[in-house]
């Protein structure tokens, strides 16, 4: 923790809009994430929640507004090893890739170790530690194709953790993971927050499970419609849904 960034929000979005072609995906979003928070981003399909995440990661440029990471504007930000990223699993299709758990987790060090440098014994030790942290030590040298969906997701967590990030961003991490593993998964995240002091941001459509584990919730539908504690969210859920979905609220209750 560097003193210069103490008290500065980990992520800050000011008046951020994003559109492609004629479609406005996000419109004037104000959002900030403080150190040590565990925020859940919720919203229906196409609400812009994944876009929000991609803007924060610099994968998409905002059409308008400003994105700041650790107090630095995105365009100047270079310390990417302070951020760990776990993508949606279906986007991967990585199961068939001929690599071991060890090799995949080690690839998480690529930015930290730097160009032209090779991994040393200390790096390999941190790979082992990250794999142990997610409880897959016995799978270390197995091909990832032999793992279950839940195990594979934990491999990706380990890959994000191995470079010791301060912020962990997860995009729909429970898609394709069975119900039992989801509970395990969230309790792992909770312990990462409590024991390692990680700041976390998780995008999920599964509001029910997620809101039990996070400390804060932000509801996205073009704008941020609600941003408060998980407790407040639970108590005002109906009102928030009404504001987000308007007339189509019946559609949502059908899902529950």
């Amino acid at each position: 923790m560097e003193p210069t960034t103490q008290g500065v929000p980990v992520v800050k979005l000011s008046g951020v809009s994003f559109q492609y072609d004629d479609k406005v995906v996000l419109d004037g979003v104000e959002f900030s994430l403080e150190r040590g928070e565990f925020v859940g981003i919720v919203g229906p399909n196409g609400s812009g929640k994944s876009t929000l995440m991609k803007l924060i990661l610099g994968l998409l440029p905002p059409s308008k507004g400003k994105v700041e990471l650790f107090g630095q504007p995105l365009s100047k930000f270079r310390e990417w090893n302070r951020i760990g990223y776990v993508a949606q699993q279906v986007a991967h299709g990585a199961g068939g890739f001929p690599a071991t758990v060890q090799e995949v987790v080690a690839s998480g060090l690529v930015g930290k170790v730097g160009l032209f440098r090779r991994l040393n014994a200390k790096h390999h030790e941190s790979v082992r530690a990250a794999v142990e942290r997610v409880g897959l030590t016995d799978k270390l040298n197995q091909r990832i194709g032999s793992l279950s969906g839940g195990q594979l997701q934990r491999v990706f967590i380990a890959r994000a953790l191995v470079a010791e990030p301060e912020l962990l961003i997860l995009d729909e991490p429970t898609v394709g993971v069975d119900q039992e593993s989801i509970e395990q998964f969230y309790s792992l995240l909770r312990s990462l927050k409590e024991e390692n002091g990680l700041t976390m941001m998780i995008v999920s459509h599964d509001v029910g499970v997620m809101s039990q584990w996070v400390t804060k919730v932000a509801c996205v539908q073009k704008k941020i419609h609600f941003h408060g504690t998980a407790h407040e969210f639970e108590h005002n859920q109906e009102k928030i849904m009404q504001s987000m979905y308007g007339d189509s609220v019946r559609l949502l209750s059908h899902h529950h």
Binding site: G58, W80, T100, V104, V110, R143
Partner: protein
């Protein structure tokens, strides 16, 4: 028969070239295949072919170029083609493999036009198409050694970046890896490898040497490093046995090498199946 390989210069050049090709083709091929870009080799080999034809044409028509090895024109065209593919992949983001048929047909189209302009070429062209032992010169070998040094050096120096980009491009990007430069450099290396290998296996069969050993290796390897190791092992066996039989029976070297690679792949598949049944 085996002693011939040391007695005659051209056979020795062929042997050395074969060993180098058996090293770098499957090495780059492993990265290409896991990225689902195996057809890229096909596209680039056709561009290289048009480059060779252009080289032959200018050396025939313009005295200044008469001493220039057409291979270098092939390399030049291949590199331009690889840059073009990267460009097209960006333009057609949702249809990335579309870049390959575009490049492939452009290369082939150019090739046929150049042949007709030149009023046909001598039999030398046949060796570029299908590979022929006796045509390997010391100059060809030097070019190949140069390419091999660059390829091996690159993979040694940026192995972890290549792995990260191949496994998960988005994650690599978020990790701050200069994925654009790496992709570009990698494609240039593929292009140079194809151009430098064509004397031995021929342009039409080069992609087989890039893909077949890797296909066999994928069946049995337990890690990414092993995938690379086995694909190189299988490629070397194919090249050495292929060259030997090609010389012994006076067959086309490229075809013989490729058939050996196919044979190895079938054996690996067969053994794997057999072990599954026995278990």
């Amino acid at each position: 028969m085996l002693a011939d390989w040391w007695q005659y210069d051209f056979l020795r050049y062929t042997l050395f070239s074969g060993i180098l090709i058996g090293l770098i083709c499957p090495l780059l091929g492993t990265f290409l295949i896991v990225r689902r870009l195996s057809m890229m080799a096909d596209g680039l080999s056709h561009v290289t072919l048009s480059g060779v034809a252009a080289g032959m044409l200018v050396s025939k028509k313009i005295a200044f170029f008469s001493a220039v090895n057409p291979l270098f024109f092939g390399m030049l065209f291949a590199v331009i083609g690889s840059l073009f593919i990267e460009r097209l992949r960006k333009v057609y983001k949702a249809y990335q493999d579309l870049a390959i048929p575009i490049i492939l047909s452009t290369g082939l189209g150019l090739f046929t036009v150049l042949i007709s302009v030149a009023d046909g070429f001598n039999a030398d062209l046949y060796s570029y198409l299908f590979g022929k032992i006796v045509t390997v010169s010391i100059e060809d070998l030097y070019a190949l050694v140069g390419v091999a040094v660059v390829v091996l050096g690159t993979v040694f120096l940026i192995y972890k970046e290549l792995f990260a980009v191949s496994f998960d491009e988005e994650f690599a990007r978020v990790s701050g890896v200069a994925r654009r430069s790496i992709n570009l450099w990698f494609m240039v290396l593929v292009a140079l490898t194809i151009a430098a290998s064509m004397r031995i296996v021929g342009v039409l069969l080069i992609s087989a040497l890039i893909t077949l050993p890797v296909a066999a290796s994928l069946q049995i390897a337990r890690s990414f490093r092993q995938t690379i190791f086995f694909s190189i092992l299988f490629a070397e066996i194919s090249v050495l046995s292929g060259l030997y039989f090609a010389y012994l029976f006076d067959w086309a070297s490229g075809g013989t090498i490729v058939l050996m690679a196919v044979l190895i792949m079938l054996i690996v598949l067969g053994v794997k199946k057999l072990r599954a049944i026995m278990r």
